[in-house]
Structures are given as C-alpha cells and as structure tokens.
C-alpha cells in the first residue's frame, strides 16, 4: 500500500469521526481500520464498489451494527452509548428498499415517522411530497423502487437533521427524478445547515455535489480528501517516453493507473503537478499534458489499482 494517498483530513470541527472501525461477519471482513472524518457542513461522497463496507460504516453511525474494534462519534456523541440522541440528529436513507412498514399507506408512514422527530417540518414534508409526486394513498409496500426511494428521502429530509446519511440514495431513480432530487438536496443544504454523507457506486450522479471524497475498498478507507485537493493532485499525465522506459523510481506507489499508446504513456499519478512533471522529465519523458480527472475517472483510477507484489 502506498503511503502517498491522504486519509487524514485534520480539519477543525468534525460532524463524524470514526477511529479504527473493524468488523467481521463470520469469515468476511466488512470493515478494516476505518477512520472516517466528515467535516461539519461538508458534502462527503463515499465511493466504492458494492460490498466495500460503505453501508456497514453508516450502520455503525446509526448503532445498527456494533464493531469488533474502534470507536465512532457523531457530533461528539458515541452512538453505542447515546444512540437515541445520535439518531435524532441523523436523516438516514438505508441501502435496503423495504425499510419502513409496507402495510402502511405512504401518508400514514410519513405521519408515523414524524411522531419520532420533534423537529419534523410538516409544511416542508408536504412540499417534498409534492415535488416527489408521492402517492399518499398507496400502500408503501406496493411502491416501485424509485417511488419508495422518494418516500425515504422525504422521511430523511423533513425533520431537517443536522446530518444526512444517505446510502445509495439515487438508486432506482430515473434520470429526471435524479436531477430533481439533486436540486432538492442542494436547496435543502442551502436552506438548512447540514452535513451530508452520501455513499454511491454511481459516482457521476453526485459529482457536482461533493466537496469531500472518500474511497473505500475491501473494508478499507483508502483515501479521503477535499475535492479541491483531489482535483489538484490527481492528474492524468500524457508523455512521450523512450523505448523500454520504466518511469522514475521516486514515483513508485504514486502511479495509480498506467496506460500507453505507442511511445506515449498515459499515467494517473498522485502528487503536486510541478514535482511529478519534474520527476517525469528528469527520467527522460516529455510531458505533453497533465489533466485533472473527473470524479468518476478518479474513482476508477483509485479503485482499479491493484497492489503489486
């Protein structure tokens, strides 16, 4: 594992901080030393393939899963000790779609949910329901995936929580509804000071929202970094190189992805652009281009990296 990728945000006030979360389900390792740090007011996107441990991490925050090791804090409170208070701060959209009572009508489910949140804003809930086109008379259990998701989002947003924990919130939404939802979410966080953690494997959906990015794989948080820094430090370099060129040894571990076309290499490298260019140049390469990556491309570069023996 390369030492270059940053995993410590070391900023001021954190809404969420976990330390060394570890969890095994039987022989499966679900979490392996996760130090999640979500600054207050951030829109933190947690990227990773299915089964990377994103949902399990979120469940730890809700005290739905207890870890074998490690601690978690939400606004300084331990979810294991002060679960109800912690959960009162969180608007949660879980991964599973059958969350909530299928026998209730949508209107009744919202009403039921509202009783547990003294901060529930009925007017706002009605507005959300209208924008989402919720059918209040339908049984919740009879809804399609996308419709159910909109109910979940209403349940999570309408009590104006201080922290939104959204586990694949865009799953099942059609493109138009996805666009509407993202607009609503942006509206919401300008209107209400909120910290947002979103997990997704559809990075493109939330590209414009993210100001912090975490990348998870195999239960490990490989990197977490402000979006600006990711934009600045992870670049795709195109350079002409001599035959049989192996690259500067100093960049070992910082090269996340390699490709080539003829004598032109196309490498995704982590580091300050000036230093990387200098190292490539002094190793004999002619750098043509150093382009920042979109979030989706960055995620692919980080996730497709295989540790070399």
């Amino acid at each position: 594992m390369s030492p270059v990728l940053p995993t410590d945000l070391s900023t001021g006030s954190l809404a969420v901080r976990t330390q060394g979360l570890a969890k095994r389900f039987g022989r499966e390792t679900a979490l392996d030393g996760v130090n999640l740090q979500v600054p207050e007011g951030a829109v933190y996107v947690l990227v990773g393939p299915n089964g990377a441990g994103k949902s399990t991490t979120f469940k730890v925050l809700m005290d739905l899963v207890r870890t074998d090791e490690g601690t978690a804090e939400v606004f300084g409170l331990d979810p294991r000790v002060r679960g109800p208070e912690v959960r009162a701060q969180i608007g949660y959209v879980p991964e599973r779609h059958d969350w909530g009572y299928g026998w209730m009508r949508v209107g009744r489910l919202l009403q039921h949910h509202a009783t547990f949140y003294p901060t529930w804003d009925a007017e706002y809930a009605a507005r959300l329901a209208e924008v989402f086109g919720l059918k209040m008379d339908r049984k919740f259990g009879s809804l399609s995936k996308g419709q159910g998701r909109r109910v979940h989002l209403t349940m999570a947003l309408a009590h104006r929580p201080r922290l939104l924990v959204l586990d694949e919130p865009t799953d099942g939404l059609d493109p138009v509804m996805l666009d509407e939802t993202l607009g609503l979410l942006m509206d919401h966080i300008t209107e209400t000071p909120t910290t947002v953690v979103i997990s997704t494997h559809q990075v493109h959906d939330v590209d414009r929202l993210a100001d912090h990015v975490g990348v998870m794989r195999d239960g490990k948080l490989m990197m977490q970094v402000p979006r600006d820094e990711l934009h600045r430090k992870l670049r795709r370099y195109r350079a002409e190189v001599p035959d049989g060129w192996a690259g500067p040894a100093a960049l070992n571990g910082a090269v996340l992805r390699k490709g080539s076309f003829g004598r032109e290499i196309q490498w995704s490298i982590w580091g300050e652009e000036r230093e990387v260019v200098q190292q490539l140049t002094s190793a004999g390469a002619t750098v043509r281009d150093a382009a920042p990556l979109t979030l989706a491309d960055a995620a692919i570069a980080l996730l497709s990296r295989r540790e070399r023996a």
Binding site: L64, F75, G76, H112, F116
Partner: protein
C-alpha cells in the same frame, strides 16, 4: 464539540412514543382483532338461534373458559411483531428511541389490545350463557361440593359472583402470562412459531420417554410434569385458578378454586414472564 450539545435536536417524548406504538400496533393487528370479534359474534348468533328449547342452555365453566384466551395470548405476539421480525427490525431500530423502551412500548400496546379481546370474550361468554339460559358455573364438581353451603335454589351464577369474584380475573391474568411468554419468543427467536411447536413437542417427547423407561426416571418425569404444570405453582393453577390434586384418593373432590394458590402461581409466572420480557428487550443488541 462542546457547543454541539446546545444545538442537538431533541428526542421524542416518552408519551408520544407510547401513544404512537399503541396506534401503530392497533392498526397493524386490526385484521386479526376483527377476525376474532367476527368469530365470537358469529358463534353467538349461531348459539342463540340454533340452541333447541329446553336443552338446558350452554353452561360456561369459568376456569375451563380460559383456554381459548390462553392460546390467543400465546400467539398474539406473533401478530404484534409480524412487521418487525428480527431480520427486518432495521426500521424500528433506526428511530431515535431507546430500543428496550420502544420494544416494551410495543409489547404493552399489544397487551392492551389483547386485554380488550379477553374482555370481549368474557362478555361474550356471559352473553351466550344468558341468551341460551345456561349457567355460568365454576366447575360441575364444585357445585356438588358447595351445594350444601348454599340456599337450596341458589344458582351457581350467584355463587360465582359473590363467592369467588376473583375468578373473573383469571382469563386476564392467564392471557397476560402466555402473552409474555409468547413475546419473549417473538423478541428472541427468528422463527417463534417453530420454537413453540418444537418446545412443546420436545417437552412431551421427553416426558413420554422418561415415563416409558419406568423406575426412577418415570418418577422424575412425573414430578417434573407435576411441578411445571399442575402443582400449586404450576401453569395450570395460574391459568385456571384451580389446584388439581392427583395425590388424594379416588372419589374425593380434588379440584378447588384456591385464591391463595392462584395468586402465588400468578405472581410467579407473570413475574417471571415480565422479567424475562424486559430482559429479552434489553438483551436485544445490534449485530
């Protein structure tokens, strides 16, 4: 972090949670409650219309009457928890409420519904007896035993209400006890029905096996059965208010309603059931 506490959103008030639990449980079991009430009403109509004249009416023995509510109490928790079975309790657990307390609020809500049904059942039984001109008795044998102490033309109904009014409580406490036992299963077991069936089956198989071996083992089985079921602290005493005694000779009146024994058995079984339910609710941890 220190400033965070001032702006924390509050958790819901306990009363609000309890009321909502009652409301939600009430709604979720309305079909089952409706079915029981419809069944009782149907039976009542049937008995009132079909009962032949002069057939002596339908007699209701208060202590034998408890068995339907005992069964009802045992299975009621399945209805209460059917939408929150252990594998799908994530919604319930993600609410900002202390989980043990929320669990007990749901148990109490189900119990409230059950008590309503038991009351309906007792009323129904009395109505049937009145409508069909039957007797509300305690137990036929007791009538013989108690007859000498009563005026010659006294009906047992008088005796029941005046002499042993506490027997009217028995259906309620009996249903409560089995409801608590059922709740423990519903809270802890992934498949409570299988556990009930399995446990019952295992109990009688064990008794049968022990009895068939004879000798000391048979004696053990006998005393096990007697202690758990029919002795003054046994479940039968709890649910019927009657102490069955098999150790006296034949021809002797054995079964007697016994307030003291019933009260002790009830305290024991209901207390144990309540304690175990609270423990089951508290013990439920996130996995």
């Amino acid at each position: 972090m220190s400033g965070a506490a001032e702006t924390l959103h509050p958790v819901p008030a306990r009363g609000v949670v309890a009321r909502e639990a009652l409301r939600a449980v009430g709604q979720s079991v309305r079909l089952e409650v409706g079915a029981v009430l419809a069944l009782l009403l149907g039976l009542l109509v049937l008995m009132a219309t079909v009962q032949p004249q002069g057939a002596g009416g339908a007699d209701y023995d208060v202590s034998d009457m408890t068995w339907p509510v005992v069964i009802l109490g045992l299975f009621a928790p399945l209805a209460v928890w059917k939408h929150d079975e252990p594998s799908r309790r994530a919604y319930l657990w993600s609410l900002p409420v202390e989980r043990a307390r929320h669990t007990l609020a749901k148990v109490a809500s189900g119990w409230t519904m059950l008590m309503g049904l038991v009351a309906a059942y007792v009323l129904w039984a009395m109505t049937v007896a009145l409508v069909t001109d039957g007797n509300i008795t305690i137990n036929p044998e007791w009538e013989a035993a108690l007859r000498p102490t009563l005026p010659p033309d006294a009906r047992i109904r008088d005796l029941t209400l005046s002499g042993h009014p506490w027997l009217w409580l028995v259906p309620f406490t009996a249903a409560t006890t089995t409801y608590l036992l059922g709740s423990i299963l519903a809270l802890l077991a992934d498949h409570p029905l299988r556990v009930v069936a399995g446990a019952g089956f295992a109990f009688f198989v064990a008794i049968g096996l022990l009895e068939s071996t004879g000798g000391a083992a048979e004696h053990t089985a006998d005393s096990l059965f007697v202690h758990l079921v029919t002795n003054p602290y046994g479940i039968v005493t709890e649910v019927t208010g009657v102490v069955h005694r098999f150790d006296t000779g034949p021809g002797v009146l054995n079964d007697q309603p016994n307030l003291g024994a019933w009260a002790r058995a009830t305290l024991l079984w209901m207390g144990a059931g309540l304690a175990a339910t609270v423990l089951a609710a508290r013990r439920y941890q996130e996995r």
